[in-house]
Symmetry: C2
Subunit: 117 residues, 2 copies
């Protein structure tokens, strides 16, 4: 039996405002204090991480990731209070959603083929 | 104000057992009775649709999409009773999850920048 894991994306039109990938990047920026260190941990290019951070900041009314001065690649980065709250809410959303669909997840568990992974 | 739309994927390991893309393909197979017509409606290649159908069938204990004889590209396709139930459950999951996180979606609505799209 394999219990499926629900992953949630919040879309605005076709844009992913927040989803597992962006949330994981934000968690790592929060723990490392650096966009490049976060990117490295995810096996993602610095350029892509930077682009994602810019798109997240652009999607919200106020800054989510703040960059401290120090030049490109040099300065640190951290989550703003809004960024911390947003990430916390997103992580709680997955828990609440999983709880609300527990019966369905159990049904899927019985219908999905067992695999060795 | 832009209310974000939650989209859910159910993952088994790294594999998407069911998500918005596969669900949409199944809905169209159900309505058109044909994998190639469903693919056309989605602007997807026939080859890709066929591959997705095979992977869905492979992920579950029993057939989700049944193909009626008629040769490749010729025969029809339809959802098995299990396929219909699975699709119905998946669609209800998104509704239940959205309901359970309504307060969070409202919070995101106030924090996301308004866009013209």
């Amino acid at each position: 039996m394999t219990m499926p894991t629900p992953r949630i994306r919040l879309l605005i039109g076709d844009t992913i405002a927040i989803g597992p990938g962006k949330a994981s990047l934000l968690e790592r920026i929060d723990s490392t204090g650096s966009i490049s260190a976060a990117a490295r941990e995810m096996g993602m290019s610095y350029r892509k991480a930077w682009r994602l951070v810019d798109s997240i900041n652009d999607d919200f009314n106020a800054e989510i990731v703040s960059k401290s001065p120090g030049g490109k690649g040099g300065g640190g980065a951290y989550l703003s209070p809004l960024g911390k709250e947003m990430l916390k809410r997103y992580l709680s959303i997955e828990k609440k959603a999983a709880e609300s669909i527990k019966n369905d997840l159990t049904w899927f568990e019985t219908q999905l083929r067992s695999k060795n992974n």
